[in-house]
């Protein structure tokens, strides 16, 4: 009886015992709260991730609906600290505790958008049109302003009139690919948030 669950506990109390006396007898239902969590999370898909905020990189467990089946759309409904993680050992800070609201923020962007010169509003644009237009603008600017050689004949192969700021929380794989692409264009005005 010492490791009764919350459900059993309710049954027992319903059958005439009162909680306080149970506790006095040494049957504190400490395990019971965790048991309720089990019900909530047992059927969820658990995915391991790391917090994207500061550089402690706390391990997190994300619990999601959806089991990978084609018609089951995955959606995260709970995030907590990963107890196996050697640094955070299951805990999260007030920033990380709100991660679920970041994933589902009302500010999440859902469609490519375009703002025309002089306009005061966004318009929807397709990915295809966005890529087409951006690639054209970039190629035109590169072709017009690329510096292959300096006035005194030094080979420099640089493109200075377009620049890029890379992220602070994108993965190594994103960073690596971004660098590869950007440098192949000859871009130098290229930084990431470590500059700040």
């Amino acid at each position: 009886m010492a490791d009764m669950s919350r459900r059993q506990f309710l049954k027992v109390t319903g059958a005439s015992l009162v909680g306080s006396s149970l506790v006095m007898m040494g049957f504190s239902p400490t395990a019971a709260l965790a048991e309720v969590r089990e019900f909530k999370l047992a059927r969820a898909t658990e995915t391991r991730n790391t917090c994207p905020y500061c550089s402690v990189a706390c391990g997190i467990l994300m619990y999601g609906l959806g089991d990978g089946a084609k018609n089951a759309k995955a959606s995260i409904f709970h995030i907590e600290g990963d107890p196996d993680h050697p640094v955070n050992r299951g805990t999260l800070c007030p920033k990380g505790a709100g991660l679920l609201d970041f994933v589902h923020s009302a500010s999440r962007l859902k469609h490519p958008e375009y703002r025309a010169p002089g306009s005061d509003k966004w318009e929807r644009i397709s990915w295809d049109d966005a890529f087409e237009r951006i690639a054209r603008l970039m190629k035109k600017d590169r072709d017009e302003n690329f510096v292959a050689k300096t006035a005194d004949g030094l080979t420099v192969n640089r493109w200075l009139s377009t620049g890029m700021l890379a992220a602070s929380a994108s993965s190594n794989e994103v960073g690596y690919l971004t660098h590869k692409v950007v440098r192949s264009f000859g871009m130098l005005a290229f930084d990431n948030q470590a500059r700040v």
Binding site: R48, G66, V87, P94, Y114, R115, W127, T150, N157, E173
Partner: protein, 809 residues
């Protein structure tokens, strides 16, 4: 970090200065609590504000923002004057005994070689005396007045406790109490860790502040040991990784650097970076630069990188000057930049002087924003009243906003402050049509390549020849990319120890960077990450958290660069003979034939210590540098300079030399200098900071965080509140010479009035988290106030010390 988060528990003293881990890195700070509870550690916090880190400190000292070098210089002076240094360590592992060139000099705040017009130095005198053999001249007796030890002692003798009190505003007794505590770690068995963050980097002398901290640690023998180290607490989850991968204007992956314009000759480019040893029998590991570089070029340009074209050397752009963010925005403000891409970066909020940013972005022809969230930058053209008062009709910039995935919706790895590469897994699909950054960069590249293939154009070679072996060219996979930056054999590799054996077959993943070659037979996109994905699989995804020695060395959890080494310079945790200084916290040791222990040794594994190889194997000397030679913009020894917006009339250390009031080697653009304010109009010293409840400009988009810290405020002390007639909760106006913000006043005892140069001085704390997009109450971007001037070396903006005026709104 030289060390890592869990290792903080091994410290005997924790110094938090230039950071506030309890609020900005709360789960990492728990290891400070652990050290206090289980290792009887003492926590010292030095900060302009009585932060939550300070609230649990054993000793707290207030300091005027921007004066950390005076405090730390005073500490160095104390340690030297009282002989509280670890002699065996400094004598054997640092440049203490090295002789410096006769012509090197320092006078009234300026080093030899200063050019006031160019605001830079001719650094030719900033070096050691070399003998005819090409090695550094030394004086083991330390009697020569030109040895680094004596020069340093003389330099910091000016940094007295009295100077600390009148410049920093730190009471002398408090300063001396801290000196005494810190000096206790000069014994070989006591360790101090230094934890710092943007409170040190965001100054015009930020790099030198950090160097001064590192010098303190070297004097005490606290580098390379468990519980010690210089621990930079990075501000974001992967700016460590993105810097490691070289996403900076002048870098290539693995801290290699782009060629400068005069470096037209490939062999000379390599030779200038492959440092030859400056003392006998030193490893000088950068001698392998050619192997790292060729392997990198093979990763990017594959078969097009050949010995004949110097592995594609001319495919790389060459620098005529740095094009860091501040330089780029200056060019943008002059109308010299046409296009700009912001990937998960919100520069309107994150770069200094918002008015300049708004004006500069409006001069672009096109702006592309890739982000999971609606950032201020993406809406810079839209009028948000006082928070962004612009006229959309006058802004001709085309803006594209591309929705991206967030962490929960992708596989990949991040590098934490302790250099751990940890893999994470996708748990859900992104909302709407959002795509991963890999898909966006992949498709953008493929479209550009098609245009260049079909139409030609300016120098198409590096684009059309870029190696692009991905199974879906429009969407390179994270696993494919991780294998690529780690590296593989391109040909069958014979074992260098036994040519009859094969080390790797062609196509196999490499085990580590020691296997890289400069003949084109290996590829590795980032040599310091080599070994992250070996033939045995993804090492970053490892999840064995066992800690066999009990000192927090979980070597089978994830993977750490370089070579899964958890504590850098760990050879220095042993005495010259190879015995651990502190056997209770042994990291590595020499067993007579090899180095080994609880960490991957940071040393040549079979090197007999009797032969004198130094522990700082990346440096040509093999020894750590108190004297930075020509590697810093301002000088070989850190010197205090005032913030560019200083409340003082001059630099108390060099009052007679106006050129040495603020950093004489910092780059300042004309328009930015004109935008500096003076103490007469802006009498209060401001510093920006983060709150526990918010992360940068992101969590104002997250409901829970917006609920617990909903509204913008500024923090002022009780004296200032009284002086300007403001009560807690009143609205105040805070102005700098660049603009103003309005916010609620939080009146606290946490910011006290300092007495500097005989006068009372008020500090104003400005949390940064608000803006005009998101679900928190709209507010002003804090960078409306901040000045545009960067650190002399890194160009990190001076967000931590500037002048404002606070008044009732």
């Amino acid at each position: 970090m030289t060390n890592h988060w869990v290792d903080i528990k091994n410290a005997d003293i924790v110094l938090i200065m230039g950071g506030n881990a309890a609020e900005a890195h709360p789960c990492g700070f728990k290891w400070v609590t652990e050290a206090k509870a289980h290792n009887k550690a003492k926590l010292i916090v030095v900060d302009p504000r009585f932060t939550r880190s300070a609230s649990v400190a054993d000793v707290y000292a207030p300091i005027r923002t921007g004066t950390d070098i005076v405090f730390l210089g005073g500490l160095i002076s104390y340690l030297l004057a009282n002989d509280k240094i670890q002699h065996e360590y400094v004598k054997n592992y640092t440049d203490f005994t090295f002789l410096v060139k006769e012509a090197f000099a320092f006078e009234e705040g300026l080093y030899s070689g200063y050019n006031a017009e160019k605001r830079s130095y001719d650094k030719s005198t900033w070096d050691y005396e070399l003998g005819d053999d090409g090695f550094v001249k030394t004086d083991p007796t330390l009697e020569n007045p030109r040895c680094v030890y004596n020069l340093m002692k003389e330099h910091y003798a000016r940094y007295t406790p009295e100077m600390v009190e009148r410049t920093c505003g730190t009471p002398k007794e408090k300063f001396l109490q801290i000196c005494e505590l810190i000096a206790s770690t000069s014994t070989p068995t006591r360790a101090m860790t230094i934890m710092y963050a943007l409170g040190w980097t965001q100054h015009s002398i930020g790099s030198q502040m950090i160097r001064t901290g590192a010098m303190v640690q070297l004097l005490l023998g606290n580098i390379g040991i468990s519980g010690g180290g210089m621990n930079a607490l990075r501000g974001h989850s992967n700016i460590q990784g993105l810097t490691d991968l070289g996403l900076m204007s002048d870098l290539l992956p693995g801290y290699m650097s782009l060629p400068k314009e005069p470096e037209q000759d490939y062999d000379k480019y390599i030779a200038a970076r492959a440092f030859k040893p400056l003392r006998p029998n030193q490893l000088s590991y950068w001698q392998n630069y050619g192997k790292f570089f060729v392997s990198f070029m093979k990763s990017w340009w594959g078969d097009a990188a050949t010995p004949e074209n110097h592995w594609g050397f001319d495919y790389l752009p060459k620098l005529d000057k740095p094009y860091d963010m501040l330089q780029t925005f200056e060019l943008m403000s002059q109308g010299k930049v046409n296009g700009y891409i912001c990937q998960g970066f919100n520069p309107l909020a994150a770069a200094p002087n918002k008015a300049k940013m708004d004006a500069s972005l409006a001069k672009l022809k096109f702006l592309v924003v890739m982000d999971p969230l609606a950032t201020e930058t993406s809406e810079f053209w839209r009028n948000f009243g006082a928070h962004n008062d612009v006229d959309s009709s006058k802004i001709q910039t085309e803006v594209f906003r591309l929705p991206t995935t967030c962490f929960a919706e992708e596989n990949g790895s991040l590098v934490n402050s302790g250099r751990w590469l940890q893999w994470h897994w996708k748990g859900a699909e992104p909302p709407g049509e959002a795509r991963s950054d890999l898909e966006i960069m992949g498709e953008l590249f493929v479209r550009m390549r098609t245009l260049y293939r079909d139409e030609g154009g300016a120098f198409p070679d590096p684009i059309v020849n870029l190696s692009w072996p991905y199974s879906n060219p429009l969407s390179p996979g994270p696993e494919e990319l991780a294998k690529e930056y780690s590296g593989k054999a391109l040909k069958d590799l014979a074992d260098p120890k036994d040519a009859t054996k094969l080390l790797h077959k062609a196509g196999e993943q490499l085990s580590g960077f020691a296997e890289l070659r400069d003949d084109g037979s290996t590829a590795s996109g980032c040599w310091i990450f080599c070994g992250a994905w070996t033939q045995a699989g993804n090492q970053m995804a490892r999840r064995d958290n066992s800690d066999p020695t009990g000192i927090g060395q979980t070597l089978n959890w994830a993977w750490s660069w370089p070579a899964n080494r958890r504590i850098l310079y760990n050879r220095a945790s042993c005495d010259p003979s190879g015995k651990p200084f502190n056997p209770a916290r042994k990291l590595v040791g020499w067993n007579g034939t090899a180095w080994g222990g609880a960490d991957t040794p940071d040393f040549k594994l079979d090197e007999d210590p009797a032969h004198g190889m130094g522990p700082f194997i990346m440096l040509a000397e093999g020894a750590a540098r108190f004297f930075a030679r020509g590697n810093m913009a301002e000088g070989p020894f850190p010197e205090h300079y005032e913030p560019f917006e200083t409340p003082l009339a001059n630099n108390p250390l060099n009052p007679k030399q106006p050129q040495a009031t603020s950093n004489p080697a910092a780059r300042v653009f004309k328009d930015d200098r004109e935008a500096f304010g003076k103490v007469e109009q802006f009498p209060h010293v401001a510093t920006t900071y983060r709150l526990t409840e918010h992360f940068h400009y992101w969590t104002k988009h997250a409901r829970l965080n917006a609920i617990i810290q909903p509204e913008q405020f500024v923090e002022i002390g009780e004296d200032l509140a009284k002086e300007i007639g403001v009560a807690a909760g009143d609205r105040v106006k805070v102005s700098s010479n660049r603009g103003h913000i309005e916010a609620r006043a939080v009146v606290t005892k946490r910011i006290r009035t300092l007495h500097v140069e005989g006068k009372p001085l008020h500090t104003v704390g400005i949390p940064i988290h608000w803006g005009f997009t998101g679900v928190a109450k709209a507010g002003f971007l804090a960078n409306t106030l901040t000045p545009v001037v960067g650190d002399g070396n890194t160009q990190t903006p001076e967000f931590k010390s500037f002048l404002v005026k606070v008044e009732k709104a």
